[in-house]
Symmetry: C2
Subunit: 416 residues, 2 copies
C-alpha cells in the first residue's frame, strides 16, 4: 500500500519549481510512442485504462527535443532542459579535440543535475527504472534513490542501485532487451516499487524495440499496448498521478517495395563534390537490431571551412532532405550544444533516413522494414495526464508545451 509518509515538500531544479502532492508521482516515457500507436490501440479497444484516463484527464501533444532520439529526450525530461542546456546531443558525438567518436552513455556528459536527484533531496523516495542500461548510467547522476534497468536488473545492488533482488521483488526474471517484456518489466517494476512503499516519485522509461519493429495496427503492437495498459491500470489503482509522454515518434522509412529508404550521405557528398567528409549518425548505439544505426538526423563534419557553403547548398537540393543547418544555425534553431554537433546538421523526411556509407550500416537487421526516428516528423509526441489540468497548465498545454515539461505538469498541473 501507499506509504503514509510521502513528502509533499516543494523543490527546485534548473530554475523550475515542483510541488508534488501526497500521492505517488509517476512519469512514463513510452519510447518511440508515435501518437498513432495510442489512437489505433484505443480504437481497437485494447487500452481501456488509457482511454478512461484520457477521458478524465488530458490528452494532447507536446514537442520533443531534436534530434528526436532517446538519450537526448530522456536527458531533457530528467532535467527539464533543452539539449543546448544539458549537453546530450545524441548517442554519439565527435570530440573536436581528439577527433574521436564518443558515446555519450555516461552521466559525465550531462552538464546539469536531474530533477530526480532534487526530488530525492526534498524527501521523496525516487525510483528510476529504464529499459536500457545506457540511460540508467546517464540519469542516475547524483541520485539518492533507486535506479536500475530491466536490461541489467540482475546486477542491481543496494549500494550502487539503491535496491537488490529486483527479480524477486517483481516476481519475474529480467527479460532480454530485444523484447516487449523489456518495456513491460519497467512498468511492473514501477507497480512493485509503489506497492512495496519503496518509491513515491518515479520515472519509468521504456524501450522502443516494438515500435521499431511493428506498425500501430499489427497484432504484436496491439498486444504490447494492451499489456502496457494493464500496468497503467495497476498504477492508477495505487493512487498514482501519472504523466505520459514519449522521447520521440516513429515512422516507416521504407521505399514502396518495403526496402529501407536511405541516403548514404558521406558517399553522396564524395560522389557529387569529391569532398571527403565525416558523417556522424548520432542514433548509433549498441542496440543495432532496432534501426541499423539509421535515423533522420546526422551531423556532417567538414575539414575545410570554405567547403561548407557548397556542401550545404548541394545537400539542400537532395530529395528526402528537409532541413540543412550550419553549426550556429542548428545551435540556435534546434537548441543544440554547439560543441557537440557537426559543421552541418541535416534532417530528412518522414519516410527517409540518412546513413554514412553503405558499408557502415548492416541492413540485414532491418530487412523486414525499417522504422526509425530522429527528425522533425518524429518531434511531436503524446502528452497525457491522469487528471484534469488546472487553468494555468491547460493554458500552457495549448501553447507549445515540450515533452520535457512533463514532470512539472505532473507535479503542479492539478488543482489541489
Amino acid at each position: 500500500m501507499n506509504s503514509p509518509t510521502i513528502s509533499t515538500e516543494s523543490f527546485t531544479c534548473n530554475g523550475r519549481h515542483y510541488h508534488p502532492g501526497p500521492h505517488p508521482i509517476v512519469v512514463i516515457c513510452v519510447d518511440g510512442c508515435a501518437d498513432e500507436y495510442l489512437s489505433t490501440s484505443m480504437a481497437q479497444g485494447v487500452m481501456p485504462h488509457l482511454l478512461s484516463l484520457t477521458k478524465n484527464g488530458y490528452r494532447g501533444l507536446a514537442r520533443g527535443a531534436l534530434p528526436s532520439f532517446t538519450n537526448v529526450n530522456n536527458a531533457s525530461i530528467a532535467t527539464g532542459l533543452s539539449p543546448r542546456e544539458h549537453g546530450i546531443s545524441g548517442n554519439f558525438f565527435l570530440d573536436p579535440d581528439t577527433e574521436e567518436e564518443i558515446m555519450m552513455n555516461s552521466s559525465k556528459y550531462l552538464w546539469k543535475e536531474t530533477l530526480l536527484s532534487h526530488a530525492a533531496q526534498s524527501g521523496r523516495k525516487v525510483g528510476m527504472v529504464t529499459a536500457k542500461e545506457k540511460l540508467r548510467d546517464i540519469l542516475s547522476h547524483q541520485l539518492e534513490g533507486i535506479a536500475f534497468s530491466s536490461e541489467k536488473a540482475k546486477e542491481a545492488k543496494l549500494d550502487t542501485h539503491g535496491i537488490e533482488n529486483v527479480e524477486s521483488l517483481i516476481g519475474e526474471p529480467a527479460p532480454e532487451i530485444y523484447s516487449a517484456d523489456a518495456s513491460l518489466y519497467v512498468l511492473k517494476a514501477g507497480v512493485a516499487l509503489i506497492r512495496e512503499g519503496l518509491a513515491d516519485f518515479l520515472y519509468l522509461s521504456l524501450t522502443d524495440y516494438m515500435q521499431h519493429k511493428f506498425c500501430p495496427w499489427e497484432e504484436e503492437s496491439l498486444t504490447f499496448h494492451q499489456n502496457i495498459d494493464e500496468q497503467i491500470g495497476l498504477l492508477l489503482e495505487l493512487g498514482a498521478k501519472i504523466g505520459i509522454t514519449a522521447d520521440h515518434g516513429m515512422n516507416s522509412k521504407t521505399q514502396p517495395d518495403g526496402s529501407a529508404n536511405v541516403i548514404f550521405l558521406e558517399s553522396w557528398i564524395q560522389d557529387q563534390l569529391g569532398i571527403q567528409t565525416r558523417v556522424i549518425c548520432p542514433i548509433t548505439d549498441p542496440y543495432v537490431v532496432h534501426h541499423g544505426a539509421l535515423g533522420s538526423l546526422v551531423m556532417v563534419h567538414i575539414e575545410e571551412e570554405s567547403d561548407i557553403p557548397r556542401i550545404q547548398e548541394k545537400i539542400f537540393q537532395l530529395d528526402g532532405i528537409t532541413e540543412v543547418y550550419t553549426r550556429s544555425e542548428a545551435a540556435h534553431r534546434l537548441e543544440l550544444p554547439e560543441e557537440r554537433i557537426g559543421d552541418l546538421v541535416i534532417l530528412s523526411g518522414r519516410d527517409t533516413v540518412i546513413g554514412r556509407t553503405e558499408k557502415d550500416h548492416d541492413l540485414s537487421h532491418v530487412a523486414k522494414g525499417l522504422r526509425s526516428h530522429g527528425g522533425r516528423y518524429e518531434e511531436m509526441v503524446p502528452f497525457i495526464f491522469s487528471f484534469p489540468l488546472n487553468s494555468t497548465y491547460l493554458q500552457k498545454a495549448v501553447g507549445d508545451p515540450r515533452n520535457f515539461d512533463v514532470f512539472e505538469f505532473t507535479c503542479n498541473g492539478e488543482d489541489s
Copy 2:
C-alpha cells in the same frame, strides 16, 4: 436509396488513375481538423461512428501541403497535385507584374484540371459541396455536376450549380457562415444527394470556424464533432466508402496571458534594418472573424535583391520563427509555385503567428484567443478510411502519404 446505375469506369487525371467501385465515394475534408480533435472527441465517446469506422478501416496521419491553408490544400485534394503544380499558393499573392495583391478565389488561378471534372466525364454523378463560396469558385472548374456552397446555398441554380432548391432538398435553411452549421450543412447535403440518387462521387469540404474558436475539449467542440459523427453514420448507412482528411491542423497561437502571439514582421524588419518590405499574409480572406488574417506563414517581398541575404539572416534569429527560405529554396523544398510566392518565405512555430504591421490586423476578432494555422506544425492531418486498406495502399500509408492522395486511396485502396 443508392442509384443502381453507378458508373465503375476508371478515369485518369493529372497522371493518376482512379478505379472507383459501385458504391458512393465520399471524401470529406474536415477543415482545420488537428488530429487532437478526433482523439479527444472519441475519448469522450461522442464519435461512435468514427470510432467504429477507424476500428474497421484505417486511421493514420498524412502530410498536407504548405502553406497549411485552406485554398492551397483543397486545390491539392481536388487535383491530386502539389501547389507547385496547381498554382494556388495561398488566398492572396502579389502579382509580380502589377504589384497588386490578388485574391486567388477563382478557378482562373488554378493551372490544372480537377479529378472531380474527370470523374464526371467518366460517368460518375459528382457532387461537390463546400462551406465557403470561395472554394466552390476554385474547385467547380469545368465540372459537369453539382457544386454549391452552404454559404450561398440559396443562390444555387440548375444551369450554373447543377442543382436548385437546395434548402428544400436538405430540409433546412442555409446557415450563416460563422457557425458550426455551415459545416454540418455540407455533410447533410452530401447525405441528401446520395439518398436522392443525385450524386455518387462526392467531395465535402467543411469550414474551420469552430476549430478557430474552440479547443478540442471544449463543450462546443465536442457537440460539433458529435454532430459530424451523426452525419458520418448516415453516410455509412447509405453504403458510402469514405475517406476523411483535413486541409490543415490548428493550434493556439497565444501568449501565457491568452493574448495573440504575433510577430509583426514588416514593422520588425523596418525597425531592425530600416528596410521597407512588403509582407503578404496569404491566409488573408474575407472571413476575418476566424483568424484576423494571422497565420504561421508569410511572404516577404523585397525591393532590392541585394537586401535579401541580410533580411534572411536577421529573421532567422528571431524567436518564434522556425524556417526561412529564399524564393527558389521554398519552391523546391515546400513545393510552391515560384512566381506566386515572396522573395522570402517565412514560417513560425506552433504557438506563433506572423503579421504585417499592427494596424493591418484587427485583433478584436481574436480577443478570446487566437487559434490558427499555416506553418509546419499544422502540416500533419488525419488520414482515415472506412475500409481496411489493401496491401498496396497500406504500404503507401506507412510511407509519406499526402492529404491530396485521399481520392486515390478512397477509390483504389480497398481490395474488391
